[in-house]
Symmetry: C2
Subunit: 665 residues, 2 copies
């Protein structure tokens, strides 16, 4: 059974002349132990909620996973394995969620699969706490994850493994492919860690090091892992990369390239494997096939669900809704009442505060909201009345203290979303979105509904200075395909932003929120509705001569400039663009109606200016360098964010003022 | 002495009504032990190369550092402390390098100061190996760094502390302010780590936990740290946050806000400190003053340097040049010969390969080049003949195996650059610039000369698929203020990019390089020179009707389209833009001469398209979604990167073809 995995991996990589044979060949026995003796899954139904989750964090070993999925009976025929790494195949270079049945998460960027797995195990634990009832254990599955040396060198492994221990995720089992080789060679000179000791220092249950080529040893370790009921388990499997290849085994050469025709032949001989490429003998198929056992497991779970539904019909319906990712039936009502309430708000409020108020209003009717913050709860305002803290030792809680771990938080949130049952959101300062950027990209690529609450969104945060003041971040986040970015100007736009984030089932959203209070804008009911289109006319004039475009905290500056210009007999339209990513999806007609392409346009946002040219702005007021440490009230004029300057900019565009003005290239 | 620090911190934060009193008050005795008994520094000369380095990685504790600098005699008068966190003061909210004498690095984003310190200690070690001679120890200083719980929760701490052990940086001493409190409260529920055990697992020398309020205990720990000659030392100081404040000590409230007038008064009473704010009694000043000892230490080093200069004049001159950050006198020659050689290159070559060839040519004449890769040496091609590997157990080596640690690598490179003596460069795949993004920003903010070698810069990398294929990265990196970004199209542009990167003394550079071979473009000598301007006319036509703008691997597509258009009687200019950030700094005349603003312009780059609007492009060929796993030769046409499509785009812009075409909003 192990050699079938080896040969399929080796042959597929050879056929593609591209890929990573070493890890699949080295992990073959580990996979046999886990997949043939423990993993509870049903190849006929990859989405059955009661299944164990399997994550290949070292995603370059994708052929191991494809071989396992094929052999155990998933809808992944041999023709797909032959097409490894080819256009339109179901066997891309790295596992891609939504692309291949049985792939739980997209991996490749190292360390993040492990973080996703921690998120999945967290979701399982919380969902079990919330829904299981005496005699009715309907949420009860494990999360297994394979990691390599690379995953464990990455900093994110530190962040999430500390949290896994804090949360006592005992159903999380990590299989460490300890082969001592990374791309640059034997890892000794750059990876001196005593990894078992490191994980014990987090509070993990550690098994091994053991011989990763001994199926019985791995099997026994898995049994020991399951027996541990208060800590996650790390199983350290000493393996040889490329095991089976006479020339390449144990070398870095085995990692990332095809073995070559001659070595493939030598490996066949060494393994005593006489079958041609992509042919597996029937007895091996039989031994691997997991359909019968899978169907039985799934039926068992369905039976438990049926009993649960009988006893607890409302709970069962709620669990099923949550697992489907559907919002409650009354969400439309919640949405309208929130918009009605926030649309009428008149007091100045920081949008981070408005966000908290929106959460307070929504959370009681959206029990799937699972909040959190990277140790900035009181600043991000991600908590809400009665949310309770998620803790390792007590059940319940809907707000996660992630500690100072932005990247870990974001990747764990992806895992929670992938698992299902919760809509995770998490907060940090906008500048530190840099720390978690690749996890945002992965959420966008995987189409995960997660919400990032990024507060302190400009120099308006004041004294903390340039390390904390975002300048390029709004523009830069807007570049990530399939990520929605909102920068609301007041409570009404903040409410609309939250509604949009929750209703976008297949994309993540970043909310960019102010530390400081912002003036509430006046709107008609139609304007409140129009916020959902991402940009809209906030304040118009008859026959406008120019259009002022603004986002977030700078919208009030535009409105004030409009009034000053009125007095000077110049008529400008003010457009608020809380979400350019949403606006860009509107039809051309609407966009032109809002932007008035024939008129001069001027943008204002407390960030880099050149970004505005895509909306036809010939001039923009912004900040193209770094901020400074000072009270915000001094920073705004210091960096030129004044009504006067904006007025001058408009007048200059209209040719009625001759000055040297900042403008995009 | 400790209470002077406490009171200054408390009063300055109170005066600003903003800041973090808790950490400075908690670390006061630690600071007394280090700064008054061990740290070798001279307040009269903050740049003396022989000084110990001190890094406050928990940068929010800035008032501790400002108080220390003031009391020991740096040019930081009390008037500046009164102006804490005010505009134009030398006491910004977080320590900023270049802003305040004695501040070695800008800190605030947690964990990165620790990483910078590892880089400084690495630079010291390598420089000592390279320049010290028997009887002449001219490079010999320590690096001290204070960290808080936040720094140690961050993943980057894992990355860099593992490396510090691997490199045996025994002159690195980390003082851990183990106060058990982070912003969200007592850290137990989210930071379960046994940190001493964790550091022992890396191979560190760990001292403590000890009472961080016992100066003698910290002093003894520092003596023990200095006695350890093969490993870095972690000193675990158990402290109480906000120590001295009767109400706030030991609570999260002490962390990030002023104590309030009443509590300030209570603290004064509790500390028996009767002096008014910002008044320090003379005996305390005397006890703290480090000028005499500093001058003596510096003179001692100058004496050693003089003896060294006598005995090893060429070595001494070279060391001094390197420490000044000046390129060798013959660099102009190296530059011209490199350009001459690469300007003539005719064979197709991957720009990552051209980069390696440039390194091979430059490195023998630039001994300050210190290369490295995050475990992708053979892919990034960051090594060069004879570079040798940096190792913990053997001296020498000019190429660092950073392991799979992109963020740690980038922040360590910043520390190396801040220390001086080396120009660090490091490689990974462009997509994984996401992992290190905030360290790039910090390099740009601090004006560090570091070079990032980002290979595999587009879908042209092929089979590894969308997780590895950058789409938004080039555009997004260009948004970071003061970061230069180059995406060369062939060997000549790659050589010019390297030259630019090395000669930019006050900014970092990112080189975006192809995995695949690219056609060499033909250029006149003038065109080769013009590359340095960031964009230039690569191929012109008389009375052009349109301008094609292209970068990197897409330049050849533009040149091919030009030829096809020639045949159709349409004359277009091709502009190559290897570095838009450099181009944007050119004068308006040059920019207009190149771009011809009156003509229709069309951009082509294998990334997001809306970015092009800032160069007046009404249409662009690019990729606004994610890539796919397949051989590159199939991906290019699959995503529409064909000569035909580009030709059609030009014709459509000229109104001679009626089709629905991709265009920015």
């Amino acid at each position: 059974m192990a050699n079938a995995l080896r040969v399929l991996a080796m042959d597929a990589v050879q056929q593609a002349n591209s890929g990573h044979p070493g890890a699949p060949m080295g992990m073959a026995e580990t996979a046999v132990a886990l997949w043939s003796r423990h993993l509870r899954h049903d190849p006929a139904d990859p989405h059955w909620p009661g299944r164990d989750r399997f994550v290949l964090s070292n995603g370059h070993a994708s052929m191991l996973l494809y071989a396992l999925l094929h052999l155990t009976g998933y809808s992944l025929p041999m023709s797909e394995l032959r097409q490894f790494r080819q256009l339109h195949s179901c066997t891309p270079g790295h596992p891609e969620r939504g692309h291949t049945p049985g792939v739980e998460t997209t991996t490749g960027p190292l360390g993040q699969g492990l973080a996703n797995a921690v998120g999945m195990a967290l979701a399982e634990k919380l969902l079990a706490d919330e829904f299981n009832r005496p005699g009715h254990t309907v949420v009860d599955h494990r999360t297994y994850v394979c990691v390599g040396d690379g995953c464990l060198m990455e900093g994110i492994s530190h962040e999430v493994c500390s949290l896994a221990a804090a949360w006592r995720l005992h159903k999380l089992v990590v299989l460490y492919d300890d082969n001592g080789i990374s791309i640059d060679g034997p890892v000794g000179p750059w990876f001196p860690d005593d990894t078992p000791a490191r994980f014990r220092a987090y509070g993990w249950h550690v098994v091994g090091p053991l011989d990763g080529h001994d199926v019985e040893a791995v099997d026994a370790a898995l049994v020991a892992a399951h027996a541990c009921d208060d800590r996650p388990t790390l199983i350290v499997c000493r393996t040889q990369i490329g095991r089976g290849s006479p020339q390449r085994a144990g070398t870095a050469k085995a990692h990332g390239e095809a073995l070559g025709a001659a070595e493939v032949q030598h490996t066949r001989e060494a393994l005593d494997w006489s079958h041609p490429p992509f042919e597996i003998p029937a007895p091996v198929y039989t031994a691997w096939n997991a359909r019968a056992r899978g169907a039985e497991l799934r039926r068992g779970w369905q039976g438990r669900m049926a009993a649960y539904r009988q006893q607890h019909p409302r709970l069962a319906a709620e669990l099923e809704r949550r697992l489907r990712g559907e919002l409650p039936a009354d969400f439309q009502e919640s949405r309208l009442s929130l918009l009605a309430q926030f649309g009428q708000a008149r007091e100045a409020v920081a949008t981070r505060k408005a966000s908290q108020q929106a959460l307070a209003a929504l959370a009681p009717r959206l029990p799937e909201l699972l909040g959190g913050s990277a140790d900035l709860t009181g600043s991000n305002l991600t908590d809400f009345p009665g949310c309770g803290a998620v803790r390792g030792d007590t059940p319940g809680g809907r707000h996660v203290h992630y500690g100072v771990r932005e990247f870990g938080m974001a990747a764990i949130m992806n895992g929670v979303a992938l698992h299902g049952g919760y809509i995770p959101y998490g907060g940090t300062f906008l500048t530190f979105s840099d720390y978690s950027r690749n996890a945002l990209r992965m959420a966008a690529l995987m189409q995960c509904r997660v919400v990032h609450v990024y507060t302190h969104d400009s120099i308006g945060l004041g004294e903390d200075g340039p390390t904390h003041q975002p300048v390029e971040h709004a523009a830069s986040l807007r570049l990530i395909p399939n990520l929605d970015v909102w920068r609301p100007c007041d409570a009404a736009e903040t409410a609309a932003a939250w509604i949009s984030a929750l209703t976008q089932r297949s994309r993540p959203t970043a909310l960019l929120l102010s530390r400081q209070s912002l003036t509430a804008q006046l709107r008609t009911a139609e304007q409140v509705v129009a916020i959902a289109r991402g940009a809209y006319v906030l304040s118009d004039r008859a026959r406008p001569q120019a259009v002022l475009l603004a986002t977030g905290s700078e919208v009030s500056l535009a409105v004030e400039a409009q009034a000053v210009l009125d007095a000077r007999g110049v008529r400008v339209r003010v457009v608020s663009l809380p979400s350019t990513t949403v606006f860009d999806r509107q039809d051309r007609g609407y966009r032109d109606d809002v932007l008035l392409p024939a008129l001069p346009r001027i943008g204002v946002e407390a960030g880099v200016t050149r970004w505005w040219s895509q909306y036809g702005c010939a001039a923009a007021l912004g900040l193209d360098g770094y901020g400074a440490s000072a009270p915000a009230a001094q920073l705004w004029p210091h960096f030129g964010f004044t009504v006067e300057r904006l007025v001058d900019l408009v007048l200059a565009q209209l040719g009625t003022l001759e000055t040297e003005l900042p403008r995009p290239c």
